[in-house]
Amino acid sequence: MSYAELQVTSNFSFLRGGSHPDELAITAAALGLSAIAITDRNSLAGVVRAHVGAKSAGIRLLVGARLDLQDGPSLLCFPSDRAAYGRLSRLLTVGRRRAPKGECRLSLDDVLSYDRGQIFVILAPPEPDEAFAELLEKLGRDWPGCCYLAGHYLYSGDDRRRLARLAALAEATAMPLVATNDVHYHGPGRRPLQDVLCCIREHCTLAEAGFHLDANAERHLKDAGEMTRLFANYPDAVARTVELAERCRFSLDELRYEYPAEPVPAGRSAQEELQRLTWIGARERYGVVIGTNVRDLLRHELDLIGKLEYAPYFLTVHDIVRFARERGILCQGRGSAANSAVCYCLGITAVDPARLDLLFERFISAERDEPPDIDVDFEHERREEVIQYVYEKYGRTRAGMTATVISYRAKSAIREVGKALGLSLDAVGALADNVWGWGGDQVEGEKVREIGLDPGDPTVAMAIRLARELTGFPRHLSQHVGGFVITRGALSEVVPITNAAMAERTVIEWDKNDLDALGILKIDLLSLGMLTCIHKGFDLIAQHHGRKLSLATVPAEDSAVYDMLCRADSIGVFQVESRAQMTMLPRLRPRNFYDLVIEVAIVRPGPIQGDMVHPYLRRRAGRERLEYPSKDLEDVLGKTLGIPLFQEQAMRIAIVAAGFTPSEADRLRRTMATFRHTGTIHTFRHKMIEGMAARGYDRDFAERCFKQIEGFGEYGFPESHAASFALLVYISAWMKHHYPAVFACALLNSQPMGFYAPAQIVRDAREHGAEVLPVDINHSDWDCTIEAGALRLGLRQIRHFQEVSAEILVAKRGPEHGGGYEGPEDLWRRTGLGVGALEKLADADAWRSTGLDRRQALWTLKRLNQPELPLFAAAQARPPSVHATKEAEVALPDMPIGEQVVQDYASLRLSLKDHPLRLLRPALDRRDIVENEMLLNLRAGAWVTVAGLVLVRQRPATASGVIFITIEDEGAVANIIVRPPVFESHRRIVLSSRLLAARGRLEREGMIIHVLAEELIDLSVDLDRLRENPDATSGQQPFARRCRAGHPRNAHPAAPIPQARSFR
């Protein structure tokens, strides 16, 4: 006897199924079932994963869905062929598009209009009644021969009676009975997790869940023998499962992707059009005379593209890039196919591959039948225009955004599981925060004990076990940041489309891994803040310096720019402004563009985990002999001194040195990057290391190469990506070096982006000789501007000040409205802005040009607030006059400089007047805290205490728990390194202090100086005290503040100096 399971709920019926689709498929294969269906509720979200799993396990998958209707019984729907699949997909699209995100509304009538080619299995309600019998009869007539009635045997006590009743109904309506087991998990061991999922869904604990839970653990996959036994009286019902499965021959492999036709003009083939555009572009790039090597390269690439029929893809990308360029939106492509000469000629990239010797073939090969991959970055503020263009051009029926499957992470999993198990709030919080924090996916008994829980406690142990199981379960579908699918026919016939959370956005049910697995093309339209910044910078340079620039025309290889980078003087520069990069710059000492490519690629998890960084640096510095493990690898690794740094090099090693086929190597990479790391990884590991050992390579080297591939998995950086990014590194560095005011201005106008807050950007600009002018109602625009070569801060810097208010303020300042504002009343009257907005201007001290400081301005403004003059509209006609009642001058107390600075920070997040640390310096001196600048003069190993505002805290995943803190005082920044034991004993200070003192040993590595902290002191209280007392003293007992407030609620007032950015 054989059996096919037809009713299977996977965990893509969110919080209803207890197993992954691939787990189900693999288990079904192991049980020897003849086929397995995945029937998630009104969804096809899990079918691709099931498809992949079924394929590798060698079992046939029935693609289907369970249709939960608003007005009828639930149905299982199985498309029998490609066309029927398209109809099912459309049906689900209809149901989902009319419902809010995550829901689906379908009626029986909807099903009837998409029923052709479908095979239905009807699920009887708990109490099948007359009405149901009538419905069965009707459906039997509507769908003759392709409609079945499902029977279950679920150990509910009256299964026999119920089955007899259903069999009688089936008999009466000529609708054959078919056996299913209503599977919710692959094995009985999942029952606890299934119960917990139910609790999460119903927001209750296990103790409260009651009848929401199933009475037993029978909803797992069962083999043919067991099903035959359970349905002993109805052998036909079991046999029919196989019969039904045989009738559904549709496989997801049939979803052949077809490129959209639009980019190809009538009368030409796609290949002809691509060639035409490429040669036109080539002449633009290289001039009329194209060198033979470029010509050969282009011919070669075009041949390959022609052979693989990828021309429409390149044309599609080209069309989008062309649109962006016409609109003046900066963009740049990257991805496996991006650094081809063709893409350079088409304007998709700005990096000349001829210069870099990138081999196109490494990414597109005839052997690997999969679409090429090009991601395009756009200015972040303008990407939406591009997205709307795509929607407009291809229509919503043919273009959709890919989904991102949001899964339970360790932290959310333990939280939910703990709640369901009824652990106390404390315990759940402690487990989630302390044990599972920061991306560590492991819970060790030791850690559990540290937070005061007993790891041997059965409930805690169970919580941890179940949380591990739950980790990786899909939770909901979200919208991918920029992945687009464009089809020739209707997209909804390929995959159901659902509403996204964002209005006017639709999302398909599959994510990029699903699409990859099916070989469906997608284009990532991403946003990149640095492109916005560069665009703004180019505009400012053109406007104020009369020099027109583009990504491709910035003067190349300027040695002064490299000098600057070698000094790690890189605040604001793309990619290389992080702490890790700043540490690397003086060691790597980039002198040309390719060095930047390496710089970008080397500070990545791959090379770091693979321990490739130090060998590379040693060889570069000539301290280690250049040698290659083999002649084969010399070809692969020649450019990087024998050390694999790029993703494709690691892949090539797998091929050249370990004997992988290219498609195996690709599967390896994908296993790392995509689905959960199932057992397959060990096979790959073994194969790679043994393969390399067999070919005479050092085992240690093999091990490191594999580790590197592991690291690349999620954060892969192929050479082409690195090259595209390196160009932006160079251009932003060039701009910073030559036009520091412009660069700072562009950065500020592109916020939020990058690592640094406005205060550091402004400070850095000043250190590079730029003059910075304060925000002022008579001089500032919304954006920061360049004013006679100086940087004028814009109104956008003022916290909570609205852009619309700024527009009105600037518009009414024009000469036709009377020019500059005389004072608060004048401005108020002319702009009609609310007093609240004007107060924000006072908070920012932006009234200086009218002779008022922030207190005086506020005093005047407060008066405007009172609606004592309803006749004011009439008064407007008259020339500006004083209030009807002239009031006596009130002398307000002067604001001490300390408070000025604190208020500046509160409103602008920076101060041009002074640095808080300079004001605190006398107190710091008394505590033997030295200025950061002094560190330069101290010898390595000296004990030292420094203090500063905390700018950035970073905890790179690759630095084994070490935390890097950057602090800033009035003169310079200092880098603090906090090792895990020090962190553990200073947790709160590291995490929350705004002003920090660090005591420790000074370390030097070349030009890089840092303090290896032994002790950390939180001085944030002193910042608050600055407000009142200009010569604040540290060391007063910290209670002073609380006593003054006299009130526990005031113990933590809103911090005027903002928190630093943490751990990015």
Binding site: G210, D433, S992
Partner: protein, 533 residues
Amino acid sequence: MENQENQNGRRILYLWLPYWPTDRLWRAQQAGRSTPTAELDKSLALALIAARQGGQRVAAVNMAAAEAGIGMGMMLTDARALLPELAVYPMAPEEDARALAGLADWCGRYSPWVSLDGDGAHDSGGQHGICLDVTGCAHLFGGEDAMLADLVRRMHGFAIQARLAIANSLGAAWAVARYGGQGTAIVPANETRAALKRLPVAALRLSPGAADALARLGLGRIGELYALPRGALTARFGREVTYRLDQALAKLSEPLLPRPACTSFWSRLAFAEPIGHRDHIARAAGQLINDLCTVLEREERGARRIELRLYLADGTVQRIKAGLNRASREPAHLLRLLAEHLPSLEAGFGADLMLLMVGQSNPLPAGQRTLDNGETGGIEELAPLLDRLGNRLGAANVARFVPVQSHLPEQAARLAPPLTRAVGEWRHVARRPVYLLPRPELVEAVAEVPDGPPVMFRWRGIAHRVQRGDGPERIAPEWWHDMQAGAARLAGETRDYYRIEDSRGQRYWLYRQGLYDDAMARIPDWYLHGFFA
């Protein structure tokens, strides 16, 4: 009665309870009134949390936590990072409010005019306070100093942290208690200005916006407002600032919102030694009633509602309330009404003060006679019967079943008091027997492997031949009650239930404990669990 209209002579006591929620919790635990997982040590840092925007945030702290830097509104995670040993409990604003109202009632011993600061339902710490109009009351205690000292001593005894001030306006007492920086303060009537001068403007009970704006203008202290032209202030802040300033300086009257029980007819009896004996209490009550009736007679009124309050030495208040259908000032009748309830009093530590007050009064109509409280109907008629049954059989023996959501039959119902309203549904009624054995009884049974119904079974020595059987209904154990149990044991505890009819037509509910499994060496046992009708 004192003349309340005399503003200048008014004296207000403000009692600020900066750590009320944590103090309340601690007291509750001390009194064993709640069942905490661990007894709190008062010296340990304690925070109460509530779900706020962004997650669990600290809503109240005790002093130890405040000194360690735990502040209101902190994320729980931050607080834990700061102080890993921090004890955390959920905030219970309703209980805080209830207990605060109780404390306010207790404060009635100092003055009948007691009100809560705000509406009393605060959901964060540091906001709780009680205002007392002690005008003319201090002499009962020997002056304001003695009165404050007495209150402080008692608060200390209750382990409630309090800061107190007496001033001639609520605003001033509030400001000095909360911001004065001292435990207690008495502000003489002519020193209000000076006492407020150095306090921050927030002490004027200003809206946060106004207080903040004043601070930004450099006018952070109350004294800095004195010199400013009032017009200039009003032009900028509306009436708010000057209004609050005038209130604090007692230039404007501010009535206290009286608590519901506030009355104009009351009598008071204080004892040197707390009394606890019921007879003594009854005698004292009689004296209070006589005093009160004298007052009522003089005013020609009759009481419709009366309330007797006993202020106990442990800081709690016991009350007896009685309603009258018709107004009365007949001492014997009032006493009879109260006496009915006297046995239920729990005067544990003894009462050191008793108050009798009239909640509602009417002009006394002539010819009042009988008082009767008779109307009944519906379930109320059943209640006396159930009371009598309960008296005779023991209260625990009169009960009804209410459903419990559990698949396990023996846990699917529980006993509840007879008048409990049942919530939830009875499930599987058709499939469950009418009588369930208190404990399943082992039987010998012969059945088809693996899950056929038994063909015969022997129970209490008698063999039954099975005529018909239906099942199984498989019920797995509730694994979360025993998380240590391995999967095998759980499988071993799964039950398969069968409905059985024997050859005599009697119907039984049997189950087999454990599943037949290749791996199971043990042969599962059979049990009889119930009978069908």
